[in-house]
Structures are given as structure tokens and as C-alpha cells.
């Protein structure tokens, strides 16, 4: 009754023109108040400025875009029909083939990420950007446990990231804890927050849960801004100690009774050492996360998450304790977010509530969604894209969030599962599935 009604047949050119004309007309109506007219400050008062040229260009672009889109959709449909007729491969075979490609890609990406700082050992910018990509990859993998595997939409993930970052910042600046001492404690702290928040609300249905987590994320941020004695308010916490390499500092001159990294290995001091060390640190953390999550997926709890995502009522009927299963996903996701937060604080050396806004949650969510919920490789792809796109042109940066939003809508409409989606269960019961599952695990 409410299924999507796409034209089943390819459109004739006249139909396409009419369709594009109609879309352009809607675009014109929507564009008049926002694109065509704008208010500008003229001597302390607002004045109206018209931009009808821009509006006309925008409407023309919409017209042409719609025309092209329709044409492309028709072409794609025809080609798909031809291919379906020609090939005998089943959907399962094709999915399997795609999975193999993804696996190969994964190894290539791993090799590239290990080699990157060696190749670019004196390019500060590249190593820095790659570190940012890896932070988002790690966050994406953490959130993937909650959203992709357990199917719980968490809009306040950044709260756990903030808990991790502030835990490390406070433990190190107030109590002098080192990075390695604070890392597990901060992760545990974030997980505790996850459990405390999750316990009362996880009985809620999916979309309510999303809004409550959003509220929680905002509460954490508001408290960080306003509780000045605790978090130093909007000014944030600065001079957070950097992690050391087994007790070796990365500074130019050694602290009392210690040694510097460069001095110990007889190298000439270079600020790049620290950056490369940080890069490898987050790479190792991210890979550990990946290994941890892939193992969990094979365990009963991981399978329970996926079952829960597919059908909660069936899970309850099978006698599964849905609250505990959700809680474990929430806590593990929170813990991984906390680890990422610790690393973030250690790398920046400065944190403030500015870094933990809803936008950040939305970006992490966009990474998971765009990558394909539940797909580990998809997260890597999406994180790389989302970090690199704005880096490519500074003019582009202000369109970044606009494109995020647009991409979220388009990908949901086009492929509700995400770019590299496979909602295949990780573990299958039949022999073929078993063989492929073990191969994937290798």
C-alpha cells in the first residue's frame, strides 16, 4: 500500500522533461526564501538583498540534475536487467564475491597504513591527517557495535568520547597518572557511564532510545560547560601530558632522571618522532579494536546482538535477556569510545567542550551509516572519505556538513543498508556458510 512507486518502465524523453520541470518548479519555490532572498546588515539595520541570478542557476542545476538522474536510473535498471538475464550467479554468490574483494581491500589498507609514516616520514600534514582518520575509524568501529551490530541508534556517542577524554585529562593533570595507567581506567569509566545510562533506558523502543541518548550527550556537554570547578568550563583543560614510549619522552631535553626517545636510540631530535609514534599508537589501538570486535561477533553475545537487530520480539520469544544483551553492546561501545577519547586528549594536549558537540556525534554516526551498518571495512572507507573530502579544498570545508546531511539522506534512500552493506549474519548454520565464515575469520 505504501510501497515506493517508481515508474516501472523507462520514461520517454517527454516524460523525463515534464518530471524534471516539476522538480525544478519545486526547487524554485523552496529556493525563493533562502537562496533568492537574503537579509544583510546595512548600517545596523537589516536590508533585503536579492540573488535571483544565483536562484536561476540553482533551479537550472536542479532541472539538469533531475534529468540526468532519471536517465541514469533508467540506464542502470536496463543494464541490471540484462545482467540478471545473462548471468547465472545467485545473489549469495555475488555477495560472496563482493566480500572477497572487501577482504583484499582490507589487507591493502592495512599494508598502506603501516607503510604510510615510513613513506611520509617528514610530512607532518599527512601523518597528522592520517591520525585523525584513524581516530574516526576507531570511533566508528566502537559505534558500529552499538548501531551496526546491536541495532541501537545512539545519537549521544560523543558523550562517551568526552568521558574518556576528560577522565584522562583530569587523571593526568590532577593526579599525575601516565597515559598507560589512565587508558584502562578511563575506558572503564566510559563503560560505567554506558551502563548507568543504558540500564534505565534500554527497554525503550529504537527511536525513543535515539532521542534519549541525544539528550544524554547534550547533558554531558552542558555539564562540562557549566561545572567550572570540575572541568574548567568552556576554557577546557590544557597542557595534558603526552604519552611516552615505554618511559622515554619525546621532548627535546630529557626530564630529570629520564631519557628522551631520541637520546636513547641515538637519533637526532625531531618533532616528527612523536607524531609518528602517536600515529602507530592509534593504529595499534584501532587494530586491537577491530580484532576485539570481530572476535566478539563470533561469540554468543555477538550473535545475540545481530539477532536482536533483526528481530527483538523473536529474541524475547527465544528466551534471550534483551536488556543484558543491549547493555553489553552499549557498554562495549562506550568503552571503545572512551579509549578513543583518551587518545584524542593525549594527542591534542588540550580539550574543551567544543570538541564534543552533537555535530561530532552526527559525524560518527554518518561514518557508520554511510559505511554500511555492521561493516568494519565500510567504516574505514567512510571515515577516510569524510575526513579527506574537506581537506582537499579549503573552500569546500564549509560545505562539509551540508554534504554530510545530503549524503545521509541519499544513502538511506538509495541503499538503506549503507555503502558496503551486507546484512548477512556473521555465522551461518549450513556447511557452505560455515566454511565461508571460517575463511572470513582468518
Amino acid at each position: 500500500m505504501s510501497a515506493v512507486v517508481f515508474a516501472r518502465h523507462a520514461m520517454t524523453p517527454a516524460e523525463r522533461l515534464r518530471d524534471a520541470g516539476w522538480v525544478a518548479f519545486v526547487g524554485l519555490i523552496l529556493g525563493i526564501p533562502l537562496v533568492g532572498l537574503t537579509t544583510v546588515d546595512v548600517g545596523g539595520r537589516l536590508g533585503v538583498e536579492t540573488r535571483f541570478g544565483l536562484l536561476a542557476a540553482a533551479v537550472a542545476a536542479v532541472f539538469a540534475g533531475r534529468l540526468l538522474l532519471r536517465w541514469a536510473i533508467d540506464q542502470a535498471r536496463n543494464r541490471k536487467q540484462d545482467r540478471d538475464r545473462a548471468s547465472t550467479a545467485t545473489a549469495a554468490d555475488r555477495a560472496h564475491g563482493a566480500q572477497r574483494v572487501v577482504n583484499v581491500l582490507g589487507w591493502v589498507a592495512l599494508g598502506a597504513s603501516i607503510a604510510l609514516p615510513i613513506v611520509f616520514s617528514d610530512n607532518r600534514y599527512v601523518v597528522d591527517t592520517a591520525t585523525t582518520v584513524l581516530i574516526y575509524v576507531m570511533l566508528g568501529w566502537g559505534l558500529n557495535v552499538v548501531v551496526g551490530l546491536a541495532g541501537l541508534l545512539d545519537l549521544g556517542y560523543v558523550a562517551f568520547y568526552a568521558v574518556g577524554a576528560y577522565s584522562y585529562a583530569l587523571l593526568s593533570t590532577q593526579f599525575g597518572w601516565s597515559f598507560w595507567e589512565a587508558l584502562p581506567v578511563s575506558g572503564a569509566m566510559a563503560a560505567t557511564f554506558g551502563i548507568l545510562l543504558g540500564y534505565p533506558i534500554l527497554r525503550l523502543r529504537g527511536d525513543y532510545l535515539a532521542i534519549v541518548t541525544l539528550g544524554f550527550g547534550e547533558i554531558v556537554r552542558i555539564i562540562l560547560v557549566n561545572w567550572t570547578e570540575f572541568s574548567n568550563g568552556p576554557n577546557g583543560i590544557s597542557s595534558i601530558p603526552r604519552p611516552s614510549f615505554f618511559g622515554l619522552d619525546f621532548s627535546r631535553s630529557a626530564p630529570e632522571g629520564g631519557q628522551t626517545f631520541a637520546g636513547f636510540f641515538g637519533l637526532e631530535f625531531s618533532p616528527m618522532h612523536r607524531l609518528i609514534f602517536l600515529y602507530y599508537l592509534i593504529l595499534v589501538l584501532a587494530l586491537l579494536t577491530h580484532a576485539f570486535v570481530s572476535r566478539l561477533r563470533k561469540l554468543p553475545v555477538g550473535r545475540a546482538w545481530e539477532a536482536l537487530r533483526e528481530d527483538e520480539i523473536a529474541c524475547q520469544a527465544m528466551g534471550m535477556n534483551t536488556t543484558n544483551i543491549k547493555l553489553s553492546a552499549f557498554a562495549i561501545g562506550a568503552m571503545l569510545g572512551g579509549f578513543a577519547g583518551v587518545f584524542f586528549a593525549a594527542r591534542q594536549g588540550f580539550i574543551s567542550p567544543e570538541s564534543f558537540t552533537f555535530t561530532e556525534s552526527a559525524i560518527i554516526l554518518a561514518i557508520v551509516v554511510l559505511g554500511g551498518m555492521g561493516s568494519q571495512m565500510g567504516v574505514v572507507l567512510a571515515a577516510t572519505l569524510l575526513v579527506l573530502i574537506p581537506e582537499f579544498g579549503r573552500n569546500f570545508a564549509e560545505y562539509r556538513m551540508l554534504l554530510f546531511g545530503l549524503a545521509m539522506v541519499l544513502i538511506m534512500v538509495w541503499r538503506p543498508g549503507g555503502l558496503l552493506s551486507h546484512r548477512e549474519p556473521t555465522v551461518r548454520l549450513n556447511a557452505l556458510g560455515k566454511a565461508s565464515a571460517t575463511k572470513e575469520a582468518a
Partner: protein, 304 residues
Amino acid sequence: MAYALQQLINGLTLGAMYGLIAIGYTMVYGIIGMINFAHGDIFMVSAFIAVTAFTILAAADVTSIPLALTFVLIVSIFFTSAYGWAVERTAYRPLRGSTRLAPLISAIGVSIFLQNSVQLTQGARVKPIPPVLEGGIVLWDAPGFTVQIGWSQMLIIVTTVILMSAFTWMITQTPFGRQQRACEQDRTMASLLGVNVDRTISYTFMLGAALAAVAGVMVTVYYGVVDFFIGFLAGIKAFTAAVLGGIGSLPGAMLGGLLIGLIESFWAAYLWAEYKDVATFGILCLVLMLRPSGLLGRPEVEKV
């Protein structure tokens, strides 16, 4: 006492606006069971349209306030409903029948998109307009404190009451209202009985957007400043109002809006102003945990 009375008036004004936005959430939730996360941003767009319209009127030297308000309301309602329609058509309709989370994620995308397109096309700075309605009636000249109800506050409360009555009449008495309620109960059955479900849903979105547009104009008149970020918080608070009143229930949305408005102004006046948003979020969590069906809602039965 006088101070409390003033807070009551402020709270009612605020609550009326939240209520108007909350109706959009509650209707959409009632009919297709999704949280229209972008509704707050539709409201924000309407406030920008109102600012532009007021500025045009000021440039054209229109001084009659009733004329100006009518013009701005009509313009804003027209364009904002177009936005409501377009958002439903492009971002939600293709996802009908999909999983529960897909439309919500799409709605978040729309929300981010609208916020940033307004920021890009209209600028990130706040937009102040000269005061439209100044002054008011002094209700009580207590020693040391004057209780006053502003013309703009009166306008907001009166408009909301009129709109609510009209709306209740429309939903309960007109053919459209009947179709809308039919779709709410059972979309398949409604379509079998000849109700155009897609069109009813489109109209619902447009109506929700129209009410948000009224709220947008009122906010512009009341506060006199608008920026691209107002939609986020207003949306969350209105959603809280809808949940508090019982999502899916029209009187519930209004009641919830009033309660949220009152709680917010009293909290800000007597407790900690900087934590007033925490109060709203806290209420949202509490209501969802203790009474998920809200004050006036009926409990939802999940069917297999």
C-alpha cells in the same frame, strides 16, 4: 508572588510556542510512527522566512501592524509548508516500509542539511529585526516588581488558542480529519477503503510545517532575533513536550508544551538558569522511563 506571576506568563508564552511545534511531531508520529527529527529545523527555516518578510515590509514602509503580521504569516506558512511537503516527499516517502531506523537517520540528514544550507545562504550571524510589537498591559503594580503581559505574549497565546480550536475542529469534524485518523489507525485498511494514504500523509506534513511556521513567526516577533541553530533546541523541547503529553495525542502535545514551557521558566527563574536545558532533557528521560505513553497517550501495543 508578583515575580512568580510574571514567570507564569512567560512560561505560558513559551509553552504555547512549544505546543505549536509539538503538534507537528505528534501528528507525524501518529500517522507514520516516525520521529520527524527535521521538524525543529523546518521551524527554524520559517523563522528566517519571517525575518526576510518583515525586512521587506520595513523596506516598503508598511506601518500597519495587523497587515504586516497577516502578510508575514501567509508568506511564512506558504513557503514552510512547501518545505514540509518536499522533505516528506524526498527523504521519508521512499523509506516507508523500511526498517524503523532508516527514516530516522534520513531525518537527521535532513536536519543537518537544512541547518547548514540556511547557514550558507543566510549567514551564520544572528539576525535581529526591529521590535514589531512593543509594550503591553501592566497587570499588577506590586511594590518593587511590575507584572506585565506584553502585546506579543498576548498575540502568541491568543493565536495558539485559536489555532488549537480550529485544529481540533478539523481533525474531529472534517472529511480530511476523518481520513487522517483512519490512516493513523490502519493504513492498509484506510487505503482499501479509498483513502489516498500518500496524499493524507503529505497533507499531515504540510499542516505540521504550517503550525511550525506560525511558531516561527511568533518567535521572531517575541525575541526579535533568529539564528540558524534555534531549530535544534526548540525541536528537542517540542519533542519532549509531545512525549510528555503522550505522543500521537493532539491535546497531549499542547498540554506537554505548556508544562515544558512552565517548567523551563520556573527552573530558570528559581534554580539554575544555565542548566535549564538539562531540566528538559531530564524530564524527557524520566517520562520515557516511567510512563512511556505520556500523560494523555494510550499505551502502544507492539504487534508481531
